[in-house]
Symmetry: C2
Subunit: 340 residues, 2 copies
Amino acid sequence: MIPSPYLLYLGSSTDELSVKTSRGIAVWRPEVAVGEYRNPDCTVTLGLEHLDFAEAYARGARTLVLGVANAGGIMGPSAKADVLAALAAGLNVAAGLHDRLNDHPDLVAAAEEAGLQLFDVREPPKGLVVGNGRPRAGKRLLTVGTDCSVGKMYTTLALERELHARGLPADFRATGQTGILIAQSGVPIDAVVADFISGAAEMISPARTDDGWDLIEGQGSLFHPSFAGVSLGLLHGAQAEALVMCHEYGRPSMRGLSYRTLPDIGECMEANLAAAALTRPGARFVGIGLNTSRLSDEDALRVCAEAEDKYGLPCQDPLRMGVNRIIDRLLECDATSVAA
Amino acid sequence: MIPSPYLLYLGSSTDELSVKTSRGIAVWRPEVAVGEYRNPDCTVTLGLEHLDFAEAYARGARTLVLGVANAGGIMGPSAKADVLAALAAGLNVAAGLHDRLNDHPDLVAAAEEAGLQLFDVREPPKGLVVGNGRPRAGKRLLTVGTDCSVGKMYTTLALERELHARGLPADFRATGQTGILIAQSGVPIDAVVADFISGAAEMISPARTDDGWDLIEGQGSLFHPSFAGVSLGLLHGAQAEALVMCHEYGRPSMRGLSYRTLPDIGECMEANLAAAALTRPGARFVGIGLNTSRLSDEDALRVCAEAEDKYGLPCQDPLRMGVNRIIDRLLECDATSVAA
């Protein structure tokens, strides 16, 4: 568990895309973000108060989060100096960079001396075990997709927010680096050793009996030739009774594979149901999260309505429309299965 | 590439099962095995000449292969002393133990000083890349299974032997530790980082244009809840035009999961074809390798004949009957697809 609250590091960022992770935390966990840290040459802001490391610590911050991405995921000299200063001020440091904090002996030594921790969220935890597929207690939902980066994390977080708004217990279970920084815990499932994919999924969503939902962030796609193994292991380990299909309307090709078109939503749902049945017979889709960022408001409503008719499932763009109707369906299905 | 010829280490083994890997090498690559090394308390033999390390080196051996397994995969003090003696005699050392050779600083130092190498075949190579799924040249066959440990490696090696017997070019492509020691190269696909499963499969069976076959050793099963992600990534990366289904007749439960029964062969073939189509449209089964070790000769023939009728594919127990009829079908299908 990464100690909160967070100070969100923007460094010397000059474009929106590079602070995506910090923004995700500010949007989805405003209660853990006490402020932002910007160097003088930084041109973006999350709209939070700028705090230096000592001020942040005094306000309760316990971890500096490097929620920034730059070319190659490397920590430059200026960022490294900032990490050392943050440690000196009493803050733990968490990052999702390729360039691991724990690979820098000077940072490791400084953290050790200060009795603080360095969290590399791309690094899987030690002691993972092989999955066993045994049925376990608890209500679980998994987002799946036609491709990578179609909005699975966003959709999952929106579902959590909607359940909370209705006073129902629910926990976002993170499987990617941004999600892990938001949730303060999780496993970067694409970084685990192949033998442990489903075991890692079982670990992040253990048996629960409080009637609450585990909402598991999906990864990749069964139809992505690079990453389908990850998606299948996650699907088997999740043992989710409820699935939500995520798709970006109008995306011309699979992420990273310009030669390849996306699968049809229906075909993708069918393949996920067939595979899910191995560890969760009776799994079903409760909705479609459609990323309509390429469309006007009017067209977005139209394509969602068309998808609803075609697939018989609520279809919403979580960013534009929320996910209330998907949650309605989830709770209806759940009531039916409890009654049955 | 692990330098050959090999000296096969049996150490102080007292049971057949623990020398399975050494025996596999002796059976499938007799030309690379110059002899065996046995301590005085060893009670098993491969029937090869016993050689000490200096004798083996003099006969041309270049690598001592620890093809032994003991409880926990740990190297005992006696085995470790033997490794040091082998290095002193000029032999590289290869092992598939959990306890990695390269994790012992004294072995690493001794190897370095002697200018020799330590090969841990459970360790994936550096520099793996993400798979891309692009169609590539070459004829490829992949063995798949209803479960782990049903005979996929054995079947694949038998197919290679049969093609060689007919004078056709073919190469066994190893994906597990025993296979890698036999082939002298390969990638332990269940040990790679999840993101690289299909990329590793693409790497071990690169494009080829000599009209020869790459025969890829399968792993796990799409129906094994612990390992299906590995099997799917391998299937996608292999881009195999030909598949062979492997199954053990009468196995009561999935390996390691006593509560779970095996899938039906037909269901398993259907799922593999559906998934294979993503990167290799038109992939087809050319036979069934049936492990009939639980049956009498007569019953083995009967169940193979029944499976042939049911699935319309040649079905043979590679150990009892060879794989000539599966190869006949493979070559027929290949001729048809070339003609088409």
